[in-house]
């Protein structure tokens, strides 16, 4: 599995998913975040045929749950037709990072996890002192 960093989890959706598949993905990913202590999750939805209200809500849940577990999520590969239908349906992924493709997703997570590291860094000297 081409994971650039061990601290990231990549999930590529291979085909059309049922609601049960999506719920299972959510459960499995959140469990994995803890098990592998990963800091980043990439969900690749390139192969998803449709993003309806249930799919959007599940992706939002994944991102929010992962954040509560200390990991950042980025959704990659929303196809133009899928984006078109989502906008018409009035569905948004507010609060969830989305980027064009896997490469951008990896770059995004690398930046984000780096930023987090930097954010916590200045505190360290005072902690020691």
């Amino acid at each position: 599995m081409p994971i650039a960093r061990r601290r990231q989890r990549r999930s590529a959706i291979q085909s059309a998913l049922t609601d049960a598949d999506l719920s299972h993905l959510r459960e499995a990913l959140i469990a994995q975040v803890g098990r592998s202590r990963c800091r980043g999750v990439i969900v690749d939805v390139t192969a998803l045929d449709v993003m309806d209200s249930f799919a959007v809500r599940t992706l939002r849940d994944i991102a929010h749950m992962a954040r509560l577990r200390g990991a950042e999520t980025v959704i990659v590969g929303i196809q133009p037709d899928v984006a078109f239908a989502m906008v018409q349906l009035g569905l948004t992924l507010k609060g969830v990072a989305t980027v064009l493709d896997l490469e951008e997703g990896l770059a995004f997570l690398n930046r984000r996890t780096e930023e987090r590291f930097l954010e916590t860094k200045p505190k360290r000297p005072s902690e020691r002192g």
Partner: protein, 135 residues
């Protein structure tokens, strides 16, 4: 037109099947791939509503023609509890099932024609159509 496809909706795999069949029919009718996705999304929403509220029902897909305009018609029927307040059910963000509340109003936005016929205790029929844009 002749071509009519009746699909039973009783499990979440049927929702996927219905939207895929709907997309295929929209392609036959000459819709662009963007519009095919829009039609598939609308079918996904109303098919899920059947499962959530009525447990089972049926979706009928067919090609329709109005003059020289071609389109697709989607009829979703169930013998479920019916919708007590259609006006509220059509409001975006209103849901009685912990859903997003985007199902009916969302599908309406996606389609050109949208009609709900529901009797409490008897069931619901949703008829929706989308027409191809004249070039």
């Amino acid at each position: 037109m002749g071509e009519e496809l009746r699909l039973s909706i009783a499990a979440d795999v049927d929702v996927v099947e219905a939207r895929q069949q709907g997309r295929a029919l929209a392609a036959v009718a000459g819709f662009s791939s963007g519009e095919q996705t829009v039609i598939a999304a609308a079918i996904s929403e109303i098919a899920r509503n059947i499962l959530m509220y009525a447990k089972k029902g049926e979706i009928t897909l067919s090609l329709v023609q109005n003059g020289d305009r071609q389109g697709v018609s989607i009829i979703a029927t169930d013998q479920g509890p019916g919708i007590p307040d259609i006006d509220r059910a059509m409001q975006y963000g209103y849901s009685t099932s912990h859903g997003v509340g985007a199902g009916l109003p969302g599908a309406k936005r996606l389609m050109d024609e949208f009609d709900v016929d529901s009797v409490v205790g008897r069931g619901t029929t949703i008829t929706m159509k989308k027409w191809r844009r004249a070039i």
